[in-house]
């Protein structure tokens, strides 16, 4: 039967065996899986730190861990999650796997550099782990000077070096994507026929390439300052610690878009496939990805509203930060317009997509609160900020990542996941997420500052709600980890196109052959043209 034929077909997974065939592979699909395994590990380690944080915050006193240990916990949670999970998450796994296939290429332009970028992430991660086990770091993931350079007695340099090295991994992935999109498209695959996931990753790659080097040089200056006390960030010698904040956020604000843009790309694919309609306003969504990438570089000052920045600079940065809302809103409106009169099916990936749209909207709108000067002074460094960026990063990016994983899992592995469990855990994730982070908006608005192990007793109810939500959320992440592993061996065999989706990745077999296509396709249609799929099915 068909299933037997699919099983025996040579593909990228069974073309060669052994550890060496994986560790020295140049196949973008295998490298994507290496990344997937790595960042899954990082995600759960970062999750352990989050768990400890939430347990500590169940009671108002700092009783589970000392304040010093608590500082290390939130720092390492942030460092691992931001630099070792969220930044590589979607681009390095789903992007790595599907970007070349979606534009009809046999591989990325530079397969060896792709492999190198994975090794760089491993080396960076090893350095960060070393710092963790040697005693941790307590500066916060932002490494603000002069604390990080003059006062902290923890493993600042090892951690920052890990981030420095992982940064080059990110740069090389971005470089590879840009060249691949420009030079490797199949015949007929014009820029405006590319799926929006490719556009999103392309825009992300631009930020990776332009922003990450600035973080790298900033960390170099931190190393010099910490090792030699040369004065660049030390006010005692005439240096300016706020310069660090400018340099840091020049990368780290755009890095927010590195983390969320690929997620938006995933959502465009999901919404179209499960509404069986072309994405409404394709051009506007593509353009909005690029404009988010560009405007994202001009808003870093909104992190410095209370850091001695002049009020006029603050006004400009405030205005520009509002401006980012426009392309973000274009996306949300266009996704909902795509749903309108669509033939919607509530498959698991679509549930995650709905979750993303709702939660990202809340995350984005509360971003506007923070962009307004007066209100920001009130909620700076409170749980309001924590809630806001977790709505964007966890409610946005991780929802999209989970949705994308479910959507493309049959293509990557040739197996379906168990549908009932998947829908259940999508629901659990959504509930657990809101229970965890919605109380934090209220906490922050009431004045609960971030980064404290102890707090006044009147905040306890909200903190307990949040911790309870976190345990629900953890279940929502653990169930998929189990059933994804289960499905590798026992999942039902998936056909080439289980969703009836458009896009070149569904035109090749599941899992794809080593060179993606038996014959390079010639593209004759726009993206999301469902008439062609119907013709195939019929």
């Amino acid at each position: 039967m068909i299933t037997a034929a699919v099983q025996q077909r040579e593909n990228y997974l069974n073309s060669s065996y052994g550890l060496k065939s994986w560790l020295l592979t140049k196949d973008h699909k295998r490298i994507a899986l290496l990344y997937f395994a790595t960042i899954t590990l990082f995600f759960f380690i970062g999750g352990i730190f989050a768990t400890l944080i939430r347990i500590e915050l169940v009671t108002p006193e700092s009783d589970l861990v000392s304040a010093e240990t608590y500082n290390k916990l939130f720092t390492m949670h942030g460092v691992i999650m931001v630099f070792f999970f969220l930044v590589p998450s979607i681009p390095a796994t789903l992007g790595n796997f599907f970007l070349p296939i979606m534009i009809g290429a046999r591989d990325l332009a530079f397969p060896k550099i792709n492999l190198l970028s994975w090794y760089l992430l491993i080396i960076g991660g090893a350095l960060a782990f070393f710092a963790m086990f040697a005693g941790g770091v307590d500066t916060g993931w932002t490494f603000y000077t002069p604390y990080s350079t003059s006062y902290s007695n923890t493993w600042v340099i090892a951690t920052a070096l890990g981030i420095f090295v992982a940064g080059f991994s990110s740069i090389l992935t971005g470089l590879n994507f840009i060249v691949t999109v420009h030079r490797m498209r199949a015949p007929g695959m014009t820029f405006f026929r590319m799926p929006l996931f490719v556009w999103a990753n392309y825009a992300t790659a631009l930020i990776q390439v332009l922003g990450t080097p600035v973080l790298a040089v900033t960390l170099v200056l931190v190393f010099c300052e910490r090792l030699l006390h040369i004065g660049i960030f030390d006010p005692a010698l005439g240096g300016d610690p706020v310069l660090f904040q400018h340099l840091f956020w020049f990368y780290s604000h755009p890095a927010v878009y590195i983390m969320v843009l690929p997620g938006m790309g995933v959502i465009s694919e999901l919404v179209s496939t499960f509404s069986r309609k072309p994405v409404y306003g394709y051009g506007m969504i593509a353009a909005s990805s690029l404009s988010i990438a560009v405007i994202g570089f001009l808003v870093w000052g909104h992190h410095l509203f209370v850091s001695t920045q002049s009020v006029y600079a603050g006004m400009v940065f405030s205005f520009l930060s509002y401006f980012v809302a426009i392309p973000s809103a274009i996306k949300v409106f266009n996704w909902t317009a795509t749903l309108y009169k669509g033939s919607i099916s509530f498959e698991t990936p679509m549930l995650y997509a709905f979750g993303f749209i709702g939660l990202f909207t809340i995350g984005g709108l509360t971003g506007l609160f923070l962009a307004s000067l007066g209100l920001d002074v009130h909620v700076t460094d409170t749980y309001f900020v924590i809630a806001h960026f977790h709505y964007v990063m966890v409610g946005g990016t991780i929802m999209a990542y989970m949705g994308g994983l479910h959507y493309w899992w049959p293509k990557m592995t040739g197996r379906m996941y168990p549908d009932g469990w998947a829908k259940l855990s999508a629901g659990i994730t959504f509930l657990g997420f809101n229970l965890t982070f919605f109380p934090q908006f209220i906490l922050g608005y009431l004045g609960m500052p971030r980064r404290y192990a102890a707090y006044p007793p009147e905040f306890q109810v909200l903190h307990v709600l949040s911790s309870a939500g976190a345990s629900v959320l953890a279940v929502g992440y653990l169930i998929p980890a189990i059933y994804f592993a289960w499905s590798l061996k026992y999942g039902p065999i998936a056909g080439a196109n289980p969703w009836g989706a458009t896009g070149l990745e569904w035109k090749t077999s599941s899992p794809p052959p080593t060179h993606n296509f038996d014959e390079i396709p010639i593209v004759t249609h726009e993206a999301y043209d469902y008439t062609t799929v119907e013709a195939e099915v019929a």
Partner: protein, 221 residues
């Protein structure tokens, strides 16, 4: 299996040699953009502190040896010329020409690094190394802090530049061996070409560093 042929021939992800060459060239240009951003952070720090402490920076700048700096600039500019000649020779498929011009480029690059080492050594002797005990710059009174910042930036920027030169020297050496092994031909010269781009970039960085670090006091006088 046949690694030698594989590197020479078209790699499997490409359809044509032109596509492969275009991809490599574009990749190098994008890499150079990341380098601009990388150095950019330091140039920004320099601009801010120069704006904040113009007088100290002028005094500190004039303690540098402008003649040696200028000589080194000439050396680097010549090396860019010899690099271009190497690229030209590779495009024409002249193996001995490639080797000759690359060796000349290598010698000029090493000369630059030698002179740089001499200059740095001088800083140690004059107690102009920030972070070391006894740091002192004459002529700025109590503003030793900003003077330390100037020399930090001097070492960071020239040091980063020198590190890129060292990488460049490594690349040149590799290219010379590859050229000797007959790897390049009129059909395949991409590595020489994109290494040339890199070399010119490092050269241009110095073209900015030299006036910023050595010449800034001139207009203040």
């Amino acid at each position: 299996m046949h690694s030698e042929e594989q590197t020479l021939a078209l790699r499997e992800q490409f359809d044509t040699a032109a596509q492969q060459r275009d991809a490599s060239t574009l990749g190098m240009w994008i890499f150079l953009i990341t380098e601009v951003m990388f150095f950019g952070g330091m140039f920004l720090a320099y601009s801010i502190y120069r704006g904040k402490y113009p007088d100290v920076f002028a005094v500190a700048s004039s303690s540098l040896n402008v003649y040696i700096g200028a000589a080194n600039t000439v050396v680097l500019l010549c090396s860019s010329f010899t690099m271009v000649m190497a690229v030209r020779a590779s495009q024409l498929g002249k193996r001995s020409g490639i080797i000759f011009w690359l060796i000349l480029t290598l010698i000029l690059g090493m000369t630059f690094l030698g002179v740089k080492a001499f200059e740095w050594n001088e800083k140690f002797e004059m107690h102009h190394v920030p972070g070391m005990a006894g740091f002192h710059l004459d002529g700025v009174g109590t503003s030793q802090g900003p003077a330390s910042i100037f020399f930090s930036l001097y070492f960071a920027m020239t040091g980063l530049h020198a590190m890129h030169m060292v990488v460049g020297v490594g690349i040149l050496t590799m290219l010379i061996f590859q050229a000797k092994a007959g790897k390049f031909s009129a059909e395949y010269w991409t590595p020489v070409d994109i290494s040339g781009l890199y070399w010119h970039f490092v050269d241009i960085v110095w073209i900015f560093l030299f006036p910023l670090l050595y010449l800034i006091d001139r207009h203040l006088k």
